[in-house]
């Protein structure tokens, strides 16, 4: 009964996507989920009656449109609704509004600096150039630079050509961009603290680095390379919460005959004669399959659910040294009404956008210093949204749901485990930060779910609470993700694969790792490919 063609471990969005494409190709597939509910970090739960919390991932942009269309996710209930704009509040009582409309943004930037307002066009063009370089590779397996296989050589050549076509100046800029810091990058364009700070947030989200740490410029790009309906860089909400993404993927998967088994906590991947043969659960149940796909992060995949005896030494070492540092926490808050914010008209569309409270790179760097010192930021960087301003299904009418992503929170506090007192202190620093700009906010709180890296790791299974399943620095991107030599979704055990955000092209609810991994599996099985290629921008 427990015999399948393929077993996918973890019913997050990548596991479900991978399962859907394998099932679409005619394989008998089961996706196993440890929790009683699916979604992994793409989940929405009614944790306070009438309020739905997307309590991990909270906004959508990177989800590949090719997958959405191909798996008919809209027919299965998915609707992504964009939101517009953002605000950074300033300590002096002023603010910066990031308008979607180009000319309105110019006027707002001019209020702070005419020169910056003009420089923005140069910044936007240079950043677009970088997104154009990476976007064609999202729905593809990264080429292996050490391989002599024709496919790898051809892909490498194409990759090299697109870089060489840039010309010397832009090529040097590109190398600098991919290895540099977001702070240095922005210093090359802007003079105004608040403008730099507003943009820089995207360079540190989910990353245990500061705005002046090398590698953070790419993280900015990672948040810019998605799109909503062709608007590159735009973000939106999944109607009904991020769980709607997992729900629609699960329906697509089931429509191809796939089976989801919840409360199935995998203990170990069964390996015989160097081949994956299935999985054994902690409760002793066994499922057999010649294909086993892990949607867990690389550390959990190789150090938790694979017997070290079945693995080569280099993979164990690489898994141990894989950089997956926790850097963030999350507050999900049920509000009795809409809070007011200093200097913002409550009817303003900006109430539906992102809100930030760090008005300089200096403050953001200091927030990172706290992380290095082993504690949560006293002056935290927040990416705060009120999804119920856009999506009427998230909270009862007239009430609101607030999602607060918090940076920084270390995986351990001064080297020891988080305590409940620590969690209270962390929560207080966030609530204080918001209250500084919203006097009535605290009185409106009906319920607050606070998640430190401790809770995120324990409940969702993200090691150290790292939201991207591994840091997005160049040493762990493209053919280096998760490790050099293992970027093509194949584990070193025959029949075992990886499909999590720990593989190319990384986290952010893209579903691309799951789809790309399915393409490789089907190729190994010599089955017709069911996975679409990427749309071209040009």
């Amino acid at each position: 009964m427990n015999q399948y063609d393929a077993i996918v471990i973890g019913a997050g969005h990548n596991g479900l996507t991978n399962g859907a494409y394998l099932a679409k190709a005619g394989l008998k597939v089961a996706v196993l989920e440890r929790n009683p509910y699916i979604g992994g970090a793409t989940v929405s739960r009614e944790l306070h009656k009438g309020w739905y919390y997307s309590n991990c991932s909270y906004v959508s942009s990177l989800l590949r449109p090719e997958i959405t269309r191909d798996l008919e996710l809209p027919r299965h209930g998915l609707q992504v609704v964009p939101f517009g704009g953002g605000t950074t509040f300033m300590r002096n009582g002023d603010h910066f509004h990031n308008f979607d409309d180009h000319d309105r943004l110019h006027r707002e930037m001019s209020r702070h600096s005419k020169r910056d307002a003009n420089a923005y066009d140069r910044y936007a063009a240079d950043t677009s150039l970088q997104t154009k370089l990476i976007r064609p590779y999202l729905m593809r397996t990264p080429p292996d630079p050490t391989s002599m296989k024709p496919r790898d050589l051809a892909d490498l050549l194409e990759f090299a050509r697109s870089f060489m076509a840039l010309g010397e100046e832009k090529l040097l800029d590109t190398i600098k961009f991919w290895t540099g810091s977001v702070g240095d990058y922005l210093d090359g364009y802007f003079e105004t603290d608040v403008i730099k700070a507003h943009i820089a947030g995207s360079g540190i989200i989910g990353t245990a680095l500061g705005v002046y740490s090398p590698g953070t410029a790419y993280v900015l790009l990672h948040h810019y390379m998605g799109d909503v309906d062709g608007n590159v860089g735009a973000w939106g909400f999944a109607r009904g919460g991020m769980g709607a993404i997992a729900e629609s993927l699960s329906k697509a998967f089931q429509s191809y005959g796939g089976e989801i088994i919840c409360d199935a906590n995998v203990d170990e991947i069964i390996v015989r004669d160097g081949r994956a043969k299935g999985v054994a659960l902690k409760d002793g149940t066994e499922y057999q399959a010649d294909i086993v796909v892990s949607n867990l992060d690389p550390k959990r995949t190789f150090l938790d659910i694979t017997n070290p005896k079945d693995l080569p030494e280099d993979v164990l070492k690489k898994a141990q040294n894989f950089k997956i540092r926790g850097s963030s926490g999350k507050l999900n808050i049920a509000l009795d009404g809409l809070p007011t914010f200093t200097g913002i008209d409550p009817r303003s569309r900006m109430m539906g956008g992102e809100m930030h409270f760090s008005d300089s790179l200096e403050r953001q760097e200091r927030a990172y210093d706290d992380w290095k010192n082993g504690t949560w930021s006293k002056d935290p960087y927040l990416d705060m949204l009120i999804p119920s301003m856009t999506d009427p299904t998230m909270a009862p009418p007239g009430k609101h749901m607030m999602s607060v992503f918090v940076q920084y929170a270390p995986p351990k506090v001064e080297g020891r485990d988080w305590t409940d007192e620590d969690k209270d202190g962390f929560e207080k620093s966030v609530l204080d930060q918001i209250s500084n700009y919203s006097p009535d906010f605290r009185d409106l709180i009906l319920h607050c779910e606070t998640r430190t890296p401790r809770e995120i790791e324990a409940e969702v299974g993200l090691t150290e609470g790292n939201i991207f399943m591994g840091e997005l620095t160049f040493d762990q991107l493209l053919f280096n993700r998760p490790f050099p030599g293992y970027s093509q979704y194949r584990a070193p055990i025959k029949g075992m694969y990886m499909c999590s955000s720990g593989t190319h092209p990384g986290g952010g609810v893209m579903a691309a790792p799951g789809a790309n991994a399915a393409r490789e599996i089907l190729s190994d099985l010599k089955r017709p490919n069911t996975v679409p290629g990427g749309y071209a921008d040009d």
């Binding site: 609704v81 517009g84 009427p392």
Partner: protein, 394 residues
């Protein structure tokens, strides 16, 4: 002495003071001689109001004709292709009407307000045609266009918002039904109709009530994220929902100058609206002949590979041009690249694989793309809430 005239080229609708206050983009268009917004604040977000919350569209410039008298039903049955006798009181029917050659003059909606009392809403002005058709019928035609102000209130939360406005029991109203309420002591008619393919209503009041209606509607809708929407957002919604637009997807027959440019209902995929069991209606003989002989064109909805909208594209079968695109858009809810095309028969059957010749520009550089496409069986957007009674709250 110099005097200035304040007479403007374009008229304004009864909602104009409110529309103007919310039209942050100042992006105005001309609809039937009225100043109407193309966009209020952001076309995409306006579109998503229709699909996720509630969008409000001022449709006052629609042409409205009251048709009353003992022969009203017989008159309309003669004029339009569908069977009006089957339309009950307080029901609305989508209809097209043709000339004797079986070419479409226009499409619109017929509201049956009583046994002998109808209202026709049409995109085109229809006075002349309506009067010609009265010969031999005991009917009275009244142009009510300026006497009725209308708002389309469309989207998942629209029923809830209108219920709060005082439309008690509105959730029980079936699609294409009409219900009557009072608003500030005056009659307010609500029909479950629209041009978006979503759950939605159209609200009809006297022009004097217009401003108060707008104000209260937006007050009631605040917690349900109500937004005004302009013509661009509505156009996107209608393409996604499969609705035709006169002057875009067909030329009204009376305006066509060049031979062969008119289209019949059969050619536009509207045969379901033609009731040949009626003994006589305008265009019947020609349409029967067309049905026997076969149509020249076939209306097709195309699902096109890739994400480049096929605006103004030629459609090819192999190397041969077999048709052209009339409307096209990347549709944000169904996440598909859709187009309507008129295809020369026998091509264009459901399932046919064709090619769209798409031109698009990036930084002044034009690219020609030959995108494979497939004729699909009806629009992809067709949510349950559109048909559900009772209507869902959101």
């Amino acid at each position: 002495m110099i005097t200035s005239s304040r007479e403007t080229m374009l008229l304004t609708t009864p909602f104009h003071s409110r529309v103007e206050a919310m039209c942050h983009l100042n992006d105005w268009g001309n609809w039937m001689g009225y100043t109407t917004p193309n966009a209020y604040f952001d076309v995409e977000l306006e579109y998503f109001a229709i699909r996720s919350t509630t969008g409000v569209f001022d449709l006052s410039p629609m042409n409205k004709y009251r048709i009353t008298g003992p022969d009203a039903e017989a008159y309309l049955n003669r004029m339009v292709t569908r069977n009006v006798s089957k339309l009950g009181v307080n029901r609305v029917g989508y209809a097209v009407w043709c000339n004797d050659a079986g070419s479409i003059l226009d499409d619109g909606t017929i509201f049956r307000l009583g046994e002998q009392d109808f209202r026709l809403c049409s995109y085109q002005r229809a006075d002349d045609w309506l009067y010609w058709c009265t010969l031999g019928f005991d009917v009275t035609i009244t142009n009510e266009s300026e006497d009725i102000a209308g708002l389309a209130v469309q989207g998942p939360t629209s029923c809830t918002v209108l219920t709060l406005l005082g439309c008690t029991g509105l959730d029980q109203l079936k699609p294409f039904g009409i219900a009557h309420f009072t608003f500030e002591g005056a009659p307010m008619m609500v029909s479950r109709t629209g041009f978006t393919g979503d759950l939605g209503y159209e609200v009809w009041v006297a022009p004097e009530q217009a401003e108060a209606l707008w104000d209260q509607l937006f007050e009631c809708g605040r917690d349900y994220l109500i937004k005004p929407i302009g013509g661009y957002a509505l156009d996107l919604a209608r393409i996604e929902a499969g609705f035709l637009q006169a002057h875009v997807d067909f030329i009204p027959a009376e305006e066509a100058v060049r031979p062969g440019r008119t289209r019949s209902p059969l050619e536009l995929g509207l045969e379901w609206l033609v009731d040949f069991s009626k003994p006589l209606f305008n265009g019947r003989a020609a349409l029967l002949e067309e049905k026997a002989r076969g149509s020249r064109y076939r209306f097709a909805i195309l699902d096109i590979e890739g994400n480049k909208p096929a605006e103004h594209s030629f459609i090819l079968k192999g190397n041969k041009v077999v048709g052209t695109v009339t409307s096209a858009a990347w549709c944000p809810t169904v996440k598909s690249n859709l187009a309507y095309a008129l295809i020369e028969a026998p091509h264009g059957k459901v399932g046919d694989q064709l090619t769209a010749e798409i031109y698009y520009q990036r930084e002044l550089h034009w690219t020609r793309l030959m995108a494979p496409c497939r004729v699909i069986d009806g629009p992809l957007f067709n949510p349950k809430r559109r048909r559900q009674t009772p209507a869902p709250p959101f």
